[in-house]
Subunit: 365 residues, 2 copies
DNA sequence: TAATTTTGAACAAACGATTGTTCAAATATA
DNA sequence: TATATTTGAACAATCGTTTGTTCAAAATTA
C-alpha cells in the first residue's frame, strides 16, 4: 500500500514504521486524514460516503482511503455534517413524565424505531408543564432536529400549531380534535363505554369516575364513553360523581378519600378510574381505610400494567397499545421527514383500538 | 430606532412599513440578521452572547441588535455553535431498557438535572445487548456529546474503559469493581444481608434466590449479602437454590416453575428475588399454580415499586434510591465535564444506601 | 493644528464536513 | 504527431457560529 504525501511516496513498510502510522491513530477529522494520506478532503469524503466511483475516484485510491479510515477508527462528526446537509438525523421526543411507565413504554418503542432508522433521539421531560413543553420545543429547534414527537400536556395548542408549520410533528396520546396536526392515540371511547356498560350489567347504577386533566382529549374520550353508557341505560349523569383533576397518584388518593366520605346512601358502588396512576392512589386510600375491592367498591381502571393481574384484587383494566403507538408515531414522523413523500402528504390522526381485560375487581350486586 | 443598511439609514417608521420588517420575521441566522440590521455577524454574535460591552459595542448598537433579534424570534443554531466551540451541551444516557421503570425513574432525574443545567440529552436503549451498547456509544461519540452516563449491561468493560479515556463518563447501577471508572449505585450488600437474616429469624432455613445476570456487580452484591447471612447462621449455601440468569419476567416465571417442581421436602420455604421484574414473573407463576404468598412461599424482592404495597400480598422489598442515583450521576458527570475541575479530579464510585420495607409477604414458620 | 489615544465595528480565519466545478495528466482518436 | 476525450483528484465555496485582529473615525491631548 502506498500513500502519497506532497511530492513523496512511501511504501507500506516504511509507512507502518513511520510517524505517519502514529498520526493515523490520532486522526479525528477529514482534514487529518487528508494530511496523512495525501488525498484531499473531498476525495476522502466521497469515498467514505460510497459515492467515490460516481465521482471517478479510482479503485486503488478508494481502497487506500478506506483502509486508512479503518486504521484511524475514523467516524464523521455528525454535527458538522448536519450543519452542511441541513439534516441532523435526530428527532425530539417530549413526554410529560418519563418515569410514568405509560410514557416509558412508548419511549422504548420510539427509541427502537429511531435506532433502526439511524436516528438519534433527544429525550425531553416536560414535567407536566406547558411552559417546560414550550421550552423543550425551543431547545429541540435550536438543535435542528428533523422532527418532533410530542405527548402534549394537552391544554394549550398554539405553540404546537406554530411548530407544525416549521417542523415535522406527530402528537401522541393526547391531541386536539379541532386542530390539523397528525396524531396517534387510542380510541378510548369504545372500551370506556363497554366497561361501564359491564358495570351496569352487574347491577351498578351509582358509578363514580375519577378523572385526569379536564378537557384533554383522552379524558374527554373516556368520559364520553362513560356518559354514553349511563345514558343508554337511563342513568342520569351526576356531576358530583365526576371527581378529580389530574393524572396523578395524589389525585387518585384524594378522590378516593372524597368518595369514602360520602354518605353511605349516596356512595357509589363502583369506580371508573381514568389512569393506572390514579388507581394506585385510590387503592392506597382504600387500603388505609381498611376497605376491600370488590367487596366495598368495584373498580375498573384505564391502563393495563404488568402488575394489574397481581394486585390484591386483580384489576379489570382497559389497556392501550403503548408500544404500537410509539412505533406508529415514529413511522408517521418518518413519512413527514421523508422529503419525497412530504410534498403531497396529507396525514390524519390515527386511533388505535384498546383492549379490555376483565378481572376480579368487579362485584355483581 | 434606526438601522444602518449599506450607505443608507431609515427610521423606525419606514422600517416597520418596509420590506425589512418582513425580512426580519424570516431571519434565521446571524447572517440574515446582519444583512437586515447592517451590522456584522461578529457584532451581533457578541451582543447576543452578552459580551458586547467587553468588545466595546455601543449601548445603542446593542439595543438595536437585541430588539431586532427579539423581533425575529432569533435563536442560535446549536449545531454550528457546538462545532465552533467544541462543546455541544449535550450528554448521552444509555440504559438497558427504558420501559423498565427502574431505568425510567433514573432517566427522569437525569433529564431533570440535565435540563436544569441547559444540557440536552440523547436517550439510547441498549436493549440489554452489549453490541447495541457499543453502537450507542459510537453514535454518541459521532454526535460529540460532552459526556455519557451508562447503565452498563455489565458483562464487558473494555469498550467502556476505552470510552472513558476520551469522554467524561459515569456508570450507574452496575459497575466494574476492578476498573477505575466513576460510578454511582446502591450498596446492596447490607440490606440483602438484613433481609435474609430476617427470613432466617422467622424460621426459614431453606431460602432460594432467583438471580439476574451472573457476575454483574449488582447481582454479586446481592448474593454476597445472601451468602453472608446464611453463613452467619450456619446454613450451608446450596447452589441448587441459586436459580436464574437474567433480570427478566420470563426468568422469574421459569425459576418459580422450577421451585414449584421441587420435591416438597427439599422445596424452599422462602424466596429472595433480585429484582421487581423477576418477582412479577414469579408471582405470575405462583398465581397460575394456585399458590399463595406467604402461605406457600415467603418472598422478599429487590426494588420497591409504587405497587409493592398493593399487591395481593404486600411485598417486603429492598428499595434503591433510583432518583438520587440519577441526580448524583449527572452531577458527577458535570464535574468531569467542567474543564476547570477536570484537571486534578479524582472521582471514585459512590454507593448509596438502600431502604428496607417490611410487609406481609413473610410468614413466620 | 498636529499627534495620540480611544471607540466602535468590520474583517477574516476557523470548526468539520459536502459538493459543483476546474484542471492537469493519461489515454484514445484522427 | 496533433487533437480530442476520458480519468482522477484538487480547488473553493458553503453551512452558522465564534473570536483574534485590524482599522477608520471620533475624541482627546499636546
Amino acid at each position: 500500500m502506498k500513500f502519497k504525501r506532497k511530492n513523496a511516496t512511501i511504501n507500506h513498510y516504511d509507512f507502518v514504521l513511520s510517524q505517519y502510522y502514529m498520526e493515523l491513530k490520532e486522526a479525528k477529522t477529514l482534514k487529518d486524514l487528508a494530511k496523512i494520506t495525501g488525498f484531499t478532503e473531498s476525495t476522502i469524503s466521497r469515498t467514505l460516503n460510497g459515492i467515490g466511483t460516481k465521482y471517478r475516484i479510482s479503485k486503488d485510491t478508494q481502497k487506500k482511503i478506506i483502509e486508512a479510515a479503518k486504521e484511524a477508527d475514523f467516524s464523521f462528526n455528525e454535527n458538522a455534517r448536519g450543519l452542511r446537509l441541513k439534516k441532523t438525523l435526530t428527532i425530539g421526543f417530549i413526554v410529560p413524565d418519563i418515569s410514568n411507565s405509560f410514557f416509558a413504554k412508548m419511549a422504548s418503542l420510539v427509541e427502537r424505531e429511531a435506532r433502526f432508522h439511524k436516528y438519534a433521539i433527544f429525550l425531553c421531560d416536560s414535567d407536566n408543564s406547558t411552559e417546560v413543553e414550550k421550552s423543550s420545543i425551543t431547545l429541540l429547534q435550536k438543535r435542528k432536529v428533523d422532527g418532533i414527537i410530542v405527548c402534549p400536556i394537552g391544554l394549550e395548542s398554539e405553540h404546537l400549531v406554530k411548530l407544525y408549520k416549521e417542523t415535522p410533528l406527530v402528537l401522541v396520546d393526547r391531541y386536539f380534535p379541532q386542530i390539523d396536526i397528525p396524531f396517534v392515540t387510542s380510541n378510548d371511547v369504545l372500551d370506556s363505554y363497554k366497561v361501564v356498560q359491564h358495570l351496569i350489567s352487574k347491577g351498578h347504577r351509582n358509578i363514580a369516575c375519577i378523572q385526569g386533566v379536564e378537557h384533554t382529549s383522552q379524558n374527554d374520550m373516556r368520559i364520553e364513553g362513560y356518559k354514553k353508557a349511563l345514558k343508554d341505560n337511563d342513568i342520569a349523569f351526576d356531576p358530583k360523581l365526576l371527581i378529580g383533576n389530574s393524572f396523578s397518584e395524589e389525585n387518585g388518593y384524594n378522590a378516593a378519600q372524597q368518595i369514602i366520605g360520602m354518605p353511605k346512601t349516596k356512595r357509589p358502588t363502583a369506580i371508573f378510574s381514568l389512569s393506572s396512576i390514579i388507581t394506585l392512589g385510590a387503592l392506597k386510600s382504600f387500603t388505609e381505610a381498611g376497605l376491600k375491592i370488590p367487596e366495598d367498591f368495584s373498580i375498573v381502571s384505564f391502563d393495563e400494567q404488568e402488575y394489574s393481574a397481581l394486585l390484591a384484587t386483580p384489576l379489570t383494566t382497559i389497556g392501550q397499545p403503548k408500544e404500537e403507538m410509539g412505533t406508529k408515531a415514529f413511522k408517521m414522523l418518518l413519512d413527514q421527514m421523508d422529503s419525497e413523500k412530504k410534498k403531497n402528504l396529507k396525514q390524519k390522526g390515527v386511533l388505535l383500538p384498546t383492549q379490555l381485560n376483565f378481572r376480579d375487581s368487579i362485584k355483581a350486586l
